[in-house]
Amino acid sequence: MSGIQESIIIRTVVRIMVPFIALFALYVIIHGASGPGGGFQGGVIFGAAIILYAMIYGIEDGKKIISDKVNRILSSTGLVLYAGTGLLCMVFGGKFLQYNAVPLFPNPAETAAILMDVVEVGIGITVLAVMVSLFFDISPPETEDDEMFPEEVEQ
């Protein structure tokens, strides 16, 4: 545990900030249809919230939120959600990703807007899972002592 992780100020601020950052990420994803934003940006912000938590409270606590197994499932779930939306359009007789072929609402444009939101959520899930997975994989293993850079263990 390094010095910055013991600071009560940083721990408290992070504990308060993380839910709001996550909420803002959801806002950015859903708001992508009518303003700046979208799945990529929102996914990165949500991933940053989890990474911030894991940086201060430790990798082990971070993995309690989103474990490696969940991470692997999520990163492919987003892609399946995207491609599945495209295939759903084919089921209803349209082309791949031709959203207005799905008879969800009487107005085809409304259906397209809803399915575009689904696709954005899929992008967000994949980006979030990949970002968190990258952070967990390149972070050094935690040690008992206070050394920032522990020496290599003799093989």
Partner: protein, 91 residues
């Protein structure tokens, strides 16, 4: 070697600055990008066709849905490659 690298950087930067003189002015409505028929088509029809106000999102997620699916696949593949290369523990 550093002199050579500096020369290469200066040469490339000079070429970019020289080529940048011919770019249309920012927001120039006579520039080729605004004159193309597809620009008018997207501005006028995208809201009726896709149901979203944001033309950028309409292009990204609807007209160019294939492209965005490919981008998401690239991110997914990059993540999987990092897991394969860096994960030292048992899965």
């Amino acid at each position: 070697m550093k002199i050579l690298a500096l020369f290469a950087v200066l040469l490339a930067g000079g070429m970019l600055l020289y080529a940048g003189q011919d770019l249309p002015a920012f927001g120039d409505q006579n520039s080729p990008a605004y004159q193309h028929p597809m620009t008018t088509r997207f501005i006028e029809e995208s809201e009726n066709e896709t149901g979203v106000y944001n033309i950028v999102t309409a292009l990204l997620a609807n007209y160019r849905g294939y492209d965005t699916l490919g981008e998401t696949t690239v991110i997914f593949t990059a993540g999987m490659a990092v897991i394969l290369l860096l994960r030292r523990r048992e899965l």
